[in-house]
């Protein structure tokens, strides 16, 4: 039994919980179920089939999807690597340089882009690229993604770093480690769960970005979200549902991975306090 004053004893608790879960997941379930629909319709069930998954890979639009998927995955991979490196350096630099003037201002500056409406960032990026004469295409998407992924990668890394007591670094220095050795043998290994979590977050954010990508992509270059959007404009076909389901699976896989990495990190930091 839950405690006497537990929220679970409030009247209507179960009903509200159920409603919330329904609203959150029913649309996703519908898409997933209908991706296995044998019929052409997106509303009528015509029996189970893998027809639309086949269509994604071998149908008329498959070439477009494959190119878009390649762009999406390669951009997400590179953008996540670069932004994670920058975010790690920023986190260490800001967290381990003692008290400096404008410290909280700097923290705000790094995470502010998350709060800026994405459409504003998109317009600003496009205007900037045009102003400097950057030709829109694959590279412009990549650069934009690197930039907006930095704050997302930064958050879990900085959070992890806050949890690592400075005494580990003092202990390492006390045991004759130079700055390089300290970073390599102590700080980076302890920071790894945060870095991986930051990487995965950046990867996912890049993978499903639509607004900024749509602004800065050149003609003919598509990522999966823009390609899907393009297809939907001419009517929703079940192959879009199959493709969406596939993307959902990849996201779930990565988020699960990030969760377990976080748990490993938590287990490590449990010993932070000693006996």
């Amino acid at each position: 039994m839950p405690d006497l004053n537990s929220v679970r004893r409030y009247p209507g608790f179960n009903l509200v919980t159920l409603l919330c879960l329904l609203i959150l997941y029913v649309p996703l379930l519908v898409v997933m179920v209908y991706s296995f629909n044998a019929s052409q319709s997106v509303t009528m069930w015509g029996g189970a089939s893998l027809r639309w998954y086949h269509d994604v890979f071998y149908g008329t639009e498959s070439a477009k999807f494959k190119a878009a998927a390649w762009n999406s995955v390669s951009i997400a991979t590179i953008a996540a690597i670069v932004s994670t490196c920058i975010a790690t350096a920023a986190a260490i630099g800001m967290n381990r340089s003692g008290d400096f003037k404008l410290r909280s201002f700097s923290f705000g500056l790094v995470s502010l882009p998350i709060m800026v409406p994405e459409i504003v960032t998109a317009v600003a990026t496009l205007v900037f690229f045009s102003a400097i004469g950057f030709i829109l295409g694959y590279n412009s998407i990549l650069v934009a993604h690197i930039v907006f992924c930095i704050p997302f990668a930064y958050l879990p890394i900085a959070a992890r770093l806050e949890g690592i007591e400075a005494t580990y670094e003092e202990a390492a220095q006390d045991l004759y480690a130079s700055h390089g050795q300290l970073l390599r043998y102590v700080l980076l290994p302890l920071l790894t769960p945060g870095i991986l979590a930051g990487y995965l977050l950046a990867f996912i954010i890049s993978l499903d970005d639509f607004i900024i990508t749509n602004f800065v992509k050149g003609a003919g270059v598509e990522t999966l979200p823009t390609a899907i959007f393009g297809s939907v404009k001419s009517g929703i076909k079940p192959n879009i549902m199959a493709l969406s389901t596939l993307m959902l699976m990849v996201s779930i896989l990565l988020v699960t991975l990030a969760y377990f990495l976080g748990r490993i990190g938590a287990r490590h930091s449990k010993s932070d306090k000693g006996g």
């Binding site: 007591e165 220095q173 006390d174 045991l175 004759y176």
Partner: protein, 362 residues
């Protein structure tokens, strides 16, 4: 002992001052720590003892003064270039390394690898009895085992001086007492100079060759356990180390002896008088509770009445009310069934043995 280090102090702190902003953590501190000594910095929290330790380790810069290690000024060296190692309060064992890797870390950073390093790590594991747990991670160890790993890690690179920052404070009482002996044994076996920081006076008295009592950024007294307990130089030291009765007295100096007049007019004799006390002056009398003997009332002695009697296991503690509303605490060991025992309300004679009372300047 040999070589040029023979007469050189292991650590010499010369007129060191440390400020954090406007807060003065250490003010003109001078301490000299001898080679192969178990030296303790003792004081309440915030007295500057940990700051002093961190200055020796190199985690903090001195604001002024010199820090000498075997005659060499190390005040400007970074911590990784000082031949001293630290045992941290919460051990700070690297959680991503095994016990063996932790102990070998300092050697690895110094470029000592291969068989040499392995032998040395094995010797350390043997020294702290952790051979069986060498491949464990710190979070799989008990508090005491983590403590011993931290010790082994700090000793492994062969530091000239080992700094210990309240290393026993995180352990429970039984383990703490066992570790005291263990630490003392380690210090004697390795012959390394230990600088030990604690706020626990019992710990300090039990282990140290010499103790520096600190408060408010100043070293109040340096000396052996006996020095600071029996001959405290001021009120702070007297109060901080052990229990103490401090009574206001007026001094009356006659040829040969010195009489101290309590507020109620009773006279107590003391043997020695600190320099600087004139023929008549106000001072304080320091009497340790265990040096006061209580007997059934008898003629010619100071009288008192028990107003509180507390049974403490090994001891009885009495609060005695003297004439003139003076309260003193007395302690007697429950060692002998024939010893008189008193209860609240009993009249007693209060006897001070030779050398029981000591004068302190105001």
């Amino acid at each position: 002992m040999s070589g040029p280090q023979e007469n050189c102090p292991a650590v010499e702190i010369r007129n060191v001052t440390k400020q954090f902003g406007s807060f003065i953590a250490l003010s003109d501190v001078s301490v000299s720590i001898r080679d192969k000594e178990f030296f303790t910095l003792l004081g309440p929290s915030g007295c500057g003892k940990t700051t002093l330790l961190r200055l020796i380790a190199g985690f903090e810069d001195v604001t002024g003064g010199e820090v000498l290690l075997y005659g060499e000024d190390i005040a400007r060296l970074p911590p990784n270039r000082r031949p001293v190692n630290t045992v941290f309060q919460h051990y700070a064992l690297f959680p991503h390394m095994t016990v063996r890797e932790n102990i070998g870390f300092g050697l690895k950073m110094r470029g000592i690898t291969g068989q040499d390093a392995e032998n040395r790590v094995n010797r350390m594991l043997d020294l702290v009895h952790l051979e069986a747990l060498a491949e464990r991670r710190p979070n799989q160890l008990s508090g005491g085992q983590q403590q011993r790993s931290a010790l082994a890690r700090a000793i492994a690179p062969g530091p000239k001086v080992l700094l210990l920052d309240e290393p026993l404070s995180a352990l429970d009482l039984k383990l703490r007492q066992a570790m005291r002996l263990e630490l003392k044994r380690l210090q004697q076996e390795t012959g390394i100079t230990f600088v030990f920081v604690t706020h626990d006076q019992e710990e300090a008295l039990a282990m140290s060759d010499r103790i520096a009592v600190m408060s408010e950024g100043i070293v109040q007294q340096t000396g052996t356990a006996r020095d600071i307990y029996d001959r405290p130089v001021n009120r702070f030291v007297a109060n901080f180390i052990g229990e103490t009765n401090l009574l206001d007295v007026e001094i009356d100096r006659r040829d040969g002896s010195v009489d101290c007049r309590l507020a109620n007019g009773e006279i107590v004799e003391v043997e020695s008088v600190p320099a600087g006390i004139g023929s008549t002056a106000r001072a304080q009398l320091l009497i340790r509770p265990e040096r006061i003997e209580l007997l059934p009332p008898q003629a010619g002695s100071m009288r008192g009445r028990i107003i509180e009697a507390v049974y403490l296991g090994t001891d009885m503690q009495y609060l005695v009310l003297l004439r003139g509303d003076i309260r003193i605490t007395a302690r007697s060991q429950n060692s002998d069934a024939a010893k008189p025992q008193f209860s609240t309300g009993d009249e007693v004679a209060v006897l001070l043995g030779d050398g029981a009372a000591r004068l302190l300047l105001h």
